[in-house]
Amino acid sequence: MSVADAVQEAPTKSRTERIVNDFAIQVATVNGSGSQTANLVLLRSIFQMGVPVSGKNMFPSNIAGLPTWYTIRASAKGYISRKKEVDFLVAMNVETAKEDVLTLPPGAAALYDEPLKLNELRNDVVFYPVPFDKLINPITTDAKLRRLVRNMIYDGVLSKLLSIDMGQMEKALRKQMGKKEKAIALNMGALKAGYDYAEANLPKLDPFVVEPMNKTDGLILIEGNAAAAIGCMMAGVTFVGWYPITPSSSLCESLIDYLKKYRRDPETGKATYAVIQAEDEIAALGMVLGAGWMGARSMTSTAGPGLSLMGEFTGLGYYVEVPAVIFDVQRVGPSTGLPTRTAQQDILSAAVLSHGDTKHPLLLPASVNECYTMAMDAFDLAERLQTPIFVMTDLDLGMNTWMSPTFEYPTKPLDRGKRLDAAKLKELENDWGRYRDVDGDGIAYRTVPGDGMPSYFARGSGHNEKAQYSERADDYANNLDRLARKFDTARTLVPKPEIEVVRGAKIGVIGYGTTHWAIVESRDELRNESKIETSYLRLRAYPFTKEVFDFINTHDRVYLIEQNRDAQMLSLLKMECNVEQFAKLRSILHYVGLPIDGRSVTEELVKQERGQ
């Protein structure tokens, strides 16, 4: 079939309006085909044109050959959560092409590899066939290189069709490739071939265009894991014990790169840190606790399966009172689940991880900037509270590319917590007890080996204020009560929620983590489409602070929106609510392995309100 035929079949009349800077492009490929460069160049070019973007990778748990989708959303309004509908499909994967096309909304556009003949599938979508193989042949004779740069052709075609500036494409490509001039030349060749082909053969029939704006001035594009790594380095981390697991590996891997570069002693060139790849997550946390007990700023990062393995040691850290920072980049479980998909499914298990009466502070970053700042908060809190602190991010935040203002250099000095020193010891009249609450905040003074202060015996078995072995009822209960008091102190120290109260709004919405971005969009939709006004509280930590309960008190109905099946955060909240508060709480849940989108929130909230 000729190009002209394909074009004729497309619905030339369906959409004549222009849709500027408000659509989602989805690139469907197989993993291992080298499409990541082309996708990031596309994302970055739009970003460089000043248009707010977000990029989300839906990839399989596999190294090569399975379907992958990369979605780029351009949004003049700055919405950066996933957009439910795909507006422009780039169909490169034979296996999924048919379904990818059939699920497009009417009026969407599809660019595809010509031999796939996708245009025969429906007539309410604009089709752009592109003969990739024919176009790539003149560019290089090397079969491997052809495969790698082939994807740049769709960038070229899109540049023409969507009016994305070719100069920006080249700039983005250079940014992506660094100084590899030969590779740049090859990729530019493919990019240009796509552009020229589109110019000569593909008249514009869809409404989507990118127009320059100025909404990304001064912003950066970064993944949450890299942001967290920068935060850890700035927090003065000195010990890292870790075990690889998707989606957390890139956190420690970027950290290793930064540490190598920025954390060498200027005089000796030696490392001011240690990173150990442990034999498993049990050992990783064991090492972190050993180092934390010694006084190091120590951390690990993991995902659900690793978190499960860390259970016993987390309880030890809680009871012996050793600082530790644990990043949980959440993915879909149970078990191996969908290891490359996102979720907020470890909230409940992290909050009470281990046996016995345990509870742990959780920090809940929603943005890459918070990955950075909360990494620093986590180390300070761990040493201040002398306990394991969890930073609960997720795959969406950790591994996808997000816009952000540049990170601010920390002005607050490191908080090394309550450490016994000679002056304090004198003040205590030489009568120091490792677990004695002298300040009434549940936090005792600690010593570390080698600091010249009195020693103590750290043990997971029952102990008294002096850290001596004890099975006495009063020693046990007093200690456990003090730990509860310490948790109440944590309540006053963890980051407070971010609250937007809308006057007259009867409905309150609570969210946390990446769910935030869908809520932002949904609240606009609710206001504009359904005249529903909502107030909003974004949780930034557990334990819940007073503001959370005040928020519930001042609204009639409160929806807690999260990405798991069992309303995990809601369950934690209900544990602390009174009867009236309890009765106001509703739940909106999303657990399909894809990041939550605004539309889904809106539909569910409206539905529940109607059933009111």
Binding site: E279, M294, S298
Partner: protein, 351 residues
């Protein structure tokens, strides 16, 4: 090691060591283990060794897992920090601790269940890393604390008090440690104070992993006729590999061993281990003969005791990490938080 500490003038009539401390400074809380338990005897030898070497107890960290044996760190060196961790996981806690402060001397106490069963994975990796630590297995062939079940070092054919026969072969932790990369591997018997103390002192002077398997009968659950780790059995089947005499460089001891029968190994701090060879061609620095001796004695139902293997100059794990000399744990903010310029440069790379 605090070998440079100044010698204090002794108070008249008091027994003190070279850093002026009395033996009592090396004691711990009163033991709560059964009377006659081999673990107690080992504790006594640990106390003797630290005292005689004149190691400052405040510069020591004591680590353990869970079990009767793992309770032992509470019974020696009261002024040292201790960490009684979780079952089988002392190696990881020890790894983090030793790396965080390379200046401290680490001693880890484990049991044969703690090491050979639940903790075998961490044990393997500790040996492989050659972490500088003295790692002692108090080996009674059973689980003491949970009341007498077989452990993975119980010998084939040995019986429980209840008459149950063990039909699985034992794990030889010494052979395993040698194979995996530990650079000082020894076996001894809780009831042989002279040899045990000499080995402990040598181990404390070695840089790298010193793994000592000490056969330590459990008088309550495993000291009966069918047990191959009972006092009676071990006394009869103990084959001293070599006489060990440890000579720290600050003690001027002349060794009275006939020329040709001793093997001297110099340790990192200048101390030397002198091994009296019983077997003509035994080479403690030769991996192959070490493994062979273990297999041969094992086949005869005997325990080779003594220092079985030493690799004195092997690079240890802490050195491999290329860290600053100061303990990581006490680095000031000026060394751990990069300047604003670093952050600016990183931010620029994401524009």
């Amino acid at each position: 090691m605090a070998t440079e500490a100044p010698v204090q003038p002794p108070a008249p009539g008091k027994k003190i060591n070279r850093i002026g401390l009395e033996p009592v400074a090396y004691r711990g809380s009163k033991t709560t283990l059964c009377a006659g338990c081999g673990h107690n005897a080992i504790t006594e030898r640990i106390i003797d060794s630290f005292y005689e070497l004149g190691i400052d107890p405040t510069q020591v960290i004591k680590l353990s897992g869970i079990g009767c044996s793992s309770k032992a760190p509470a019974y020696f060196l009261n002024s040292a920090h201790g960490f009684n961790s979780v079952h089988g996981r002392m190696p990881s806690v020890g790894t983090g601790a030793v790396v965080a402060n390379r200046k401290m001397i680490a001693i880890g106490i484990s049991g044969d269940g703690d090491t050979g069963a639940i903790g075998i994975g961490q044990f393997v990796h500790l040996m492989r890393r050659n972490l500088p630590i003295v790692y002692i297995i108090e080996d009674n062939g059973c689980y003491g604390l949970t009341k007498g079940q077989f452990s993975p070092t119980a010998d084939l054919g040995s019986t429980l008090k209840t008459g149950v026969i063990n039909d699985l072969p034992p794990i030889d932790t010494c052979a395993l440690a040698i194979e995996l990369g530990a650079s000082f591997v020894a076996r001894s018997f809780s009831g042989d104070p002279k040899q045990l103390k000499a080995i402990l002192k040598a181990a404390l002077s070695h840089k790298g992993t010193s793994m000592i398997d000490v056969i330590s009968p459990c008088v309550t659950f495993n000291d009966h006729e069918g047990s191959t780790k009972s006092y009676a059995y071990v006394k009869e089947h103990d084959e001293p590999l070599s006489e060990v005499s440890f000579v720290p460089f600050f003690e001027d001891i002349t060794v009275e061993y006939e020329a040709g029968t001793t093997k001297e190994v110099t340790l990192h701090n200048g101390g030397r281990v002198v091994l009296s060879k019983l077997s003509e061609d035994y080479q403690p620095t030769d991996k192959m003969s070490a493994i062979r001796v273990l297999h041969e004695t094992m086949a005869r139902g005997e325990y080779a005791t003594g220092v079985i293997y030493i690799e004195p100059d092997k690079t240890d794990f802490v050195d491999m990490l290329g860290m600053v000399d100061e303990p990581l744990a006490s680095l000031p903010q000026s060394k751990t938080r990069p300047g604003k310029q670093a952050l600016d440069e990183i931010m620029e790379s994401f524009r």
